[in-house]
């Protein structure tokens, strides 16, 4: 019987410090047994459990895109016991990953549609996965207009800064990068302002063919939702990814439920229409 708790061994291939506070690092893993890559076939929006031997596991969204082969990538915020231990690890170290877990952004529904990605802070990881996947030459034709609103406290707190700059330069994606404040950064050439305000100013109006994917801290979500209402997005066209404390990641350990649904197995992706019928226990 396959053991869904057994991590796949991976080796840390590259560690990138993402933010100026050094609290976010991106870990690129390669498989110790290359054949294991086939066991980790994922879609943008899914997550994995990162396993640090002797310390424990943490659920983290997959930041790499399914179109990127030979490795898998996670961006981890240093918060607790396991993430702190992970931050102390170095290239070449062996650890484990489990997954892919959870559902994904509804790519089947999104084909042929305009996609508006709205992200804030360090909740941009599965959104990076989504953007890279959609921009892949094999996929770009499947989607209509792509808009991205992404904000952080300051320019130095934005994730994936080189890629953001590269996407800005392209004409098949509309980037709206913003920071809360750019003081001390005279070279800052993008937006200044909170994500909800930039969304209101730059995002397209809602219609049957336009979906928003929203991922960010609770305060951003709280103020973005009325903006999307105002722009005419129906609640089944607003897609969100949730977080709750998790252990097993496969719907068994019982802690991440919101009403009858498990965030780990039935989610983490829900439409706002679904969430409206669920208790606010997230």
């Amino acid at each position: 019987m396959e053991n869904p708790y057994l991590p796949i061994p991976v080796r840390i291939d590259k560690v990138t410090i993402e933010t100026e506070d050094r609290n976010l690092k991106t870990f690129r893993f390669v498989y110790v047994n290359p054949a294991d890559e086939n066991r980790f076939q994922y879609k943008a929006g899914q997550f994995g459990e990162l396993s640090v031997s002797g310390k424990g596991e943490i659920p983290i969204g997959i930041a790499s895109s399914p179109t990127e082969k030979g490795f898998v990538m996670f961006t981890v915020n240093k918060v607790g016991l396991v993430s702190s231990a992970l931050h102390d690890m170095v290239e070449g170290d062996v650890m484990g990953i489990r997954g892919p877990l959870g559902n994904w952004y509804p790519w089947e529904t999104l084909e042929g549609k305009n996609v508006v990605i709205i992200g804030g802070g360090f909740a941009f990881t599965t959104l990076r996965s989504s953007i890279v996947m959609m921009l892949d030459p094999a996929n770009r034709g499947k989607f209509k207009d792509i808009h991205v609103v992404y904000g952080a406290r300051s320019p130095g707190m934005l994730l994936y800064r080189d890629e953001l700059a590269a996407w800005e330069a392209r004409d098949d994606i509309n980037m709206h990068i913003t920071v809360d404040s750019a003081k001390d950064q005279p070279d800052w050439k993008y937006n200044v302002g909170f994500v909800p305000a930039v969304t209101e100013a730059k995002a397209p109006k809602g219609d049957d063919d336009t979906y928003a994917i929203v991922c960010g801290p609770p305060v951003m979500i709280k103020f973005t939702q009325p903006v999307l209402d105002k722009l005419g997005y129906k609640h089944d066209h607003i897609i969100m990814s949730l977080e709750n404390r998790m252990k097993c990641g496969i719907g068994m350990c019982g802690r991440c439920n919101i009403g009858k649904d498990f965030v780990c197995k039935d989610g983490p992706v829900f439409t706002l229409e679904q969430l409206n019928k669920m208790p606010k226990e997230y």
Partner: protein, 353 residues
Amino acid sequence: MRLLQLSHSDLTRGVEALRKAFRVEAPLPERDHFVFGPLPAGAALDLSAANTRLSAKSVIYPASEKMLRVSLDPAKEDHHVYREADKDYSPRAVLGIRPCDARAFTLVKPNFDNREYRDPYWVRSYECSTFVGLACKSPCSTCFCTSAGGGPFDTAGLDVLLAESGEGFIAQVLTEKGEALAAAAGWSAAAPEGAEAALSAMKAEADARIVSRIETEKIPGKTILSLFDAPFWDDAAFACINCGACTYLCPTCWCFDIQDEAHENEGVRMRNWDSCMFPLFTLHGSGHNPRPNKTARVRQRFMHKLKYYGDKYGGGIHCTGCGRCVTHCPVNIDIRRIASLMNGYEPDNACAL
């Protein structure tokens, strides 16, 4: 289904015979109560307990078990690569389990064994077990199994059901596993004519002795949000001290925690029972807690048992009416009281959000 007649000495001899082919687990006395555990060599089967203090779930799903092991020694070739912990899944006979506890496994199964994932520890442990139940002829005043979908002679989840009768037992052999166990025990004497009728009469009598009830009939017709937002939760939860006694004694509570432990260069990944009563259960790394207070945690426990479970898995409640949480709650929180609050709750305005 086949009916056998067993004398007390058939039972005793059978238990000894079973030891050759099975690991035998049964109720064992501990302090003022009984708990399930491996029947020590030479010990006789003691079926005098009304029920064990802790449910039989610990037989299949121990309070604490090793899942994986890992070497942290860089000199070892597979260091930092997790392996399955060694386990014994040889045949096991679970003797003297009450129908409520056996039925509980059938309620828990969809969590551990479903089309998306199979929990190998629970599944293997369950599949290697043969359950020999003991019908309840003298149920307790806190038993409410008949309104929870079961009964004192319920056969769900059992392979054999023993019912005390006259100078021995009538054994109902219910499954192929049960047949194999009966053969290994040397139980073969067919029950005398009229045993089936005697069994029905005993069952009817035992059913009638269960006078306590849980009211849940109207809960499926209510929405999750209307019950969640009902006004009674604060008062219902007041007495609760958020200990884990109810959840740990419960035969259907399945929640667990996963913890790594390391001693020098040896690491293990453990799973330990956990409880929705504990604040830590849902605490985010950021410090945010989606169930920040006692009321939220009590509501989760009862909503899960009486509403979420039925909505998710299609009918029924996640409770077998064993009454342990009622009897042993230190502050007298009573699932029957909460169920009747939920069952009787009618929001003033059904259309309100």
